[in-house]
Subunit: 218 residues, 2 copies
């Protein structure tokens, strides 16, 4: 059915239009301050219509987060397609995560928002959250794969369980993300200035420590 297809497409377009409006408002007002009314106005729709496409405000926010996660996923995939030593893959995944953070502050905020939400809710009955979880799983899988490759080619110590190591590195990378995000913190900012450093060099050093921590000692 051609008409049915077109409908599907138009529905999809409305969805992305709403998401895009939400992103604009969030950029302007911040995550917690953005209201459904303002998003509706920005999207040139009525508020009721928003709820035709997103069951809750949270579902809309999760859709934004999903979009960000997908971008990150693309970067990771690109890295994994290179033919390199495992340790180099890990390093590159770290680098691409860093560059993702710096060039997508809004999606970074979305990720942090997401984290703070999911501990309060049971995600079983939350479809959009499940979708985010799925991409998260995917990202973790890339990292695990890189570690496994490194263990096989001898560039990463095989004393540890690859999956576990992946989770752990992933977790600490997100810690860096958080740090980057709250760089507005005055004392942190000031300290970096005093040291004539910036956040990027710090995160790069973080990656160095991780690499040194997991590479085969010789």
């Amino acid at each position: 059915m051609s008409t049915e297809d077109r409908k599907k497409r138009e529905q999809q377009r409305r969805r992305t239009q709403i998401i895009s409006a939400a992103e604009t408002v969030i950029e302007r007002k911040g995550f917690q301050q953005a209201t459904m009314d303002e998003i509706a106005e920005e999207a040139e729709l009525s508020k009721g219509t928003l709820y035709l496409y997103f069951s809750h405000k949270e579902a809309l926010y999760l859709a934004i987060n999903k979009k960000g996660l997908q971008k990150l996923n693309d970067r990771f995939l690109h890295v994994m397609q290179q033919d390199q030593q495992g340790i180099e893959l890990v390093k590159d995944l770290g680098d691409s995560f860093l560059s993702f953070i710096t060039s997508n502050p809004n999606y970074t905020k979305a990720l942090i928002y997401y984290e703070s939400v999911i501990n309060e809710e049971k995600l079983e009955e939350n479809e959009p959250a499940q979708e985010c979880e799925e991409i998260g799983r995917q990202l973790l899988m890339y990292l695990t794969r890189a570690i496994q490759i490194g263990m096989q080619d001898g560039s990463i110590t095989n004393q540890m369980e690859p999956k576990l190591l992946a989770v752990q590195i992933w977790g600490s990378m997100r810690g860096m993300m958080q740090l980057y995000q709250v760089r507005s913190q005055h004392h942190l900012q000031k300290m970096l200035q005093d040291l004539e450093m910036n956040m990027e060099t710090m995160i790069r050093q973080f990656l160095d420590v991780q690499i040194k921590g997991i590479q085969t000692s010789n």
Copy 2:
């Protein structure tokens, strides 16, 4: 003035009473779901009274966070009083952080909540947030000191700037915290089960990697 002193004390008691009531409600309902009405009821006070002691709901929440940070601060202080090699101090700080997380889930939640809030607000004009920042600075100072000691006694590589290294380790530890907190995530939980591991061993491995990453190579 004795009466004035007593008043001060009673005011303080009211404050802690409200905080304690809030903690109870938060335990019952979760951070985002707890309402000022319910906290007031739990504290056997009217809602208006709550606002006599805390200017905003957020100020109350920050007070809870501060309480948690102080507990953590006590632990860190205790570690730093031991006479040990720098690298051991760092390890012990990590351990005590881990045990703090596992034994204080509510304060951990508070910390995560706090993190998600402060990026949205300018904390200059936010006194309770400033107090939390101050303790955070203190915690970071302990870690910095431990690293400096380690660099002096030769147990930690002196290739890096101690302050910067401290921030970075602190950041990744908080990443672990976040990971621990959302352990409800089904797939993570399941993965750990499959590997016959638990969150504690993972965090312990995380500490091992960090230690290996910063110790003097030989």
